[in-house]
Point group: C2
DNA sequence: TCCCTTTTACTCAGGTTGAGTATATGTGGG
DNA sequence: CCCACATATACTCAACCTGAGTAAAAGGGA
């Protein structure tokens, strides 16, 4: 086995939901994800990441999951003499105490992916993107049909429905078509805010992973405060999925699974009938870490 | 960012199914997974792995998916001055032309995990394992309940059903309890054949990932020959899942999804009514790479 | 007091899933 | 030559799940 030394870097996609907006922790004014080197004294990759996130941000880090390991030569502006291996992690952080418009470092997912938020119907950003992609498909007649099918399925065109889990595929498609700034493009309108190197790709990976995961594992609760109302829980899920959910079905599913219990308290925040407060049944944690925790889909 | 150089190594879990037995490609007489260094000239991690698998084994490699990146200090016998980062991949290989009992290098999954094969009911290997785990749970009274719940859920004890997707969790549990040889134990009977370093953990990761994936993405076809019967397809899925499936329901689900089409040929291999031969509808590939491809569960 | 808003509760049709049973069509032995 | 045998294929049925809609309850404010 030949010697093959590489620079190892840990990248964190830390996510929280505040005021029904999913946010990601950033550095450099929102242009990059926080990262740090993997060092010799770290016990494991995960432990290494935990350490310096704790050190640098002080945020208690609940859930942590490995996302992906990248080392593509052509996607980051590194020197060619030495390779960098980037190991990315998805971390979930509890909502901070309502930091107004936005605490320094936290930015909304949908600044970077305006086309991913379908809570109020199809966003306007999708039209110019679809148009640009279609034009790209037409440039190469031999692959045209194949490309067109990918576009239609990814964006939910021509009879295909919108699938919120395809966030990464959509970004990769736009990258391939040269629509995003990271791919060297001019920046087609509506293609969102760019990030350093392939950090936006990692965020897209995180979004896709999380949107898939909330459907079968109770990870949402890592983002919720101690006690919450059912509507609050639903709005948090909707924020992550970028979809509006059917209220009665959401509630039915939640209490079928017996994941939460009433605290006895009530909340009377927004005008209307006061809502019961609930808490996550921590005692049941590992049990549900194994079994499922599905969520209702669609509506809109 | 401090300099943090590490040795980067690519590890492949190559899987094929031959004669209804899922196999993994190994080196060192079945004691290790094939691996190679990640080199400067590789375009990406995936490209690097493809290259040397092709070079060393000559096996055409269809599906390839990143599994996990490890760098645990306490789980591999490395020198402490320099770290090794192991990036593992799951690769699916088409069944080789019936290599009798076993071509050199290929070993059955269930040599390493005898307790994972439930096609003919609960394997005998589970009883001593459950016993040893229960004893381990009892050693620490404070964590006893917690541990017992984990054991029951993982092994399908005390009312919980067997969940084939928990292969990794079961192995990790046994590792934690010190039952497997890799954890420095004597080797409790029925705990399967050990492997070098944490290679068996990677195989367990691959099994878990693949067992989950076949339920919602048509990856099985990467393991099938050009044409096959429905029974053959079912037996392949059963081999991977380690479960017996309900035949009528399996067939119903398969043709509901229109993943395959008749070739027009028939097969009359085993005594009985000849079966129609089918082929996977490649044309539809990307379409189904996106949508779902569920499989029926249970039956025993 | 009445209207508005939000929570909570109930209903219903269609589809999916698990499970069982029956019929077709070959092979090979007597 | 025909009859068991083995497997493939087809059909049925009840329980459950899911999407979708409607109605009643409970506060706040004009």
């Amino acid at each position: 086995m030949k010697d093959a030394l590489a620079h190892a870097e840990l990248i964190a996609v830390l996510t929280a939901v505040t005021n029904d907006a999913p946010r990601v922790m950033t550095v450099s004014k929102g242009e990059a994800l926080p990262s740090g080197p993997f060092e010799l004294e770290h016990r494991s990759l995960q432990a290494g990441l935990r350490e310096w996130v704790n050190e640098q941000t002080g945020h208690p880090l609940g859930y942590l999951e490995q996302l992906y390991t990248f080392a593509d030569r052509d996607r980051s502006p590194q020197d060619r003499a030495r390779r960098t291996i980037s190991i990315s992690y998805l971390g979930l952080v509890r909502e901070q105490a309502a930091p107004g418009a936005g605490a320094p470092g936290w930015h909304g997912w949908y600044e970077y992916f305006p086309w991913e938020d379908h809570r109020e119907g199809r966003p306007d950003a999708l039209a110019p993107i679809a148009e640009a992609l279609n034009a790209w498909a037409a440039t190469e007649p031999s692959r045209r049909d194949h490309r067109q099918k990918r576009i239609d399925l990814s964006l939910g065109l021509n009879g295909a429905g919108w699938n919120e889990e395809l966030a990464l595929q959509r970004y990769e498609l736009m990258y391939e078509a040269g629509l995003v700034t990271e791919a060297g493009a001019q920046g087609v309108p509506g293609t969102g805010r760019p990030m350093f190197a392939d950090h936006r790709r990692m965020l897209a990976t995180a979004i896709t992973r999380l949107r898939a995961k909330i459907k079968y594992r109770p990870v949402v609760f890592e983002l919720m405060p101690e006690s919450f109302t059912l509507s609050h829980l639903q709005r948090t899920v909707e924020a992550l999925a970028g979809l509006a959910l059917h209220k009665p079905n959401f509630r039915r599913l939640i209490d079928q699974q017996e994941l939460i219990e009433e605290t006895g308290e009530m909340s009377s925040e927004t005008g209307g009938r006061p809502a019961k407060l609930y808490r996550y049944r921590r005692a049941i944690l590992e049990e549900h870490a194994l079994s499922s925790a599905r969520l209702p889909l669609s509506r809109n």
